[in-house]
Amino acid sequence: MKKIILTALIMLSPLCRSMPADLYPFDNPKEAQRFTSLTQEIRCLICQNESIADSNAPIAHDLTEKVYHMVKAGKSNLQIKQFLLERYGDFVLFLPRFNAHTLLLWSAPILFLVLGFLFLFIRIRRANKEGLTTL
């Protein structure tokens, strides 16, 4: 019996971590939703692959708290992002803004794909024209 209870307790233990919802309460579920999605879009600048929602770094806590207060104060997502971008730059958001600066970043994957297909296309055409059996 002891073993069963112990096993059950161990399996339930992951539920014991504190969810941000407890630390940052909202009356309005829409606000709560906004807060959750925003904190997952903002990068922790120390643990740079984690969002501020996931990271335990001090800056992550500070930024999460700031976002919380701004959402409660009725600021829009755009205003909150703008606030952060003005202080921390493009890197603070996981999805960079689309502007002249980041144009190459956004278009590089597609560019590579197009160039690759173009290369193949030209090669195949030439191979067909010359009656070659291999490329």
Partner: protein
């Protein structure tokens, strides 16, 4: 013509290798500050910064890396001739710290700061885009943020990075 085309993937790959190697040498933790070119007056009172080149050092008593650079700051502060020649001053921003602990640290290790701003809740730091102490800003005679260094200042960083920037600024503005 056939040989040229065969070389293309290799050429492209080499270009990518060069590109990635240059990227690997950059430290992703040293983010460029977006506040460069902005005046300090929206973040801190402007008057103390005027007519001087200011090193604004963001530090805290709990920050172990800050202790690594403390000696360098003390040496810069002790060089009064240089400070006068360059119109240089060192300000401290005591970031998210307890003033009792901060004072104790300065009493123990020495105080390099001409002036200290207190930022107990980190608001000023957030407006400066501070994400990890220590950080040091260079603010020019016009009160414009001109450079930010992230990390403890070693003698090499001071002589090879910061001092040249300060010397360039030294030309007085009318």
């Amino acid at each position: 013509m056939k040989n040229k085309m065969l070389a293309m993937p290799l050429i492209l790959f080499s270009a990518l290798v060069i590109f990635f190697i240059s990227g690997l040498h950059k430290d992703p933790h040293e983010l460029p500050s977006v506040l460069i070119g902005k005046p300090i007056k929206n973040i801190l009172p402007e008057k103390p910064f005027k007519k001087h080149i200011t090193l604004l050092n963001v530090w805290a008593s709990w920050c172990t890396s800050c202790r690594l650079e403390h000696n360098v700051l003390l040496q810069i502060a002790a060089d009064k001739t240089m400070k006068q020649q360059l119109a240089l001053q060192i300000f401290g921003l005591n970031y998210k710290d307890d003033s009792v602990d901060a004072k104790a640290m300065l009493a123990e290790l020495g105080n390099p700061y001409d002036k200290i701003f207190n930022d107990p809740n980190g608001k000023i730091g957030m407006n400066l885009g501070v994400y990890g102490t220590p950080e040091t800003f260079i603010i020019n005679q016009a009160g414009v943020i001109s450079y930010r260094y992230v990390g403890p200042i070693s003698p090499q960083v001071w002589h090879n990075k910061l001092l040249p920037i300060i010397k360039k600024m030294r030309a007085p503005i009318s």
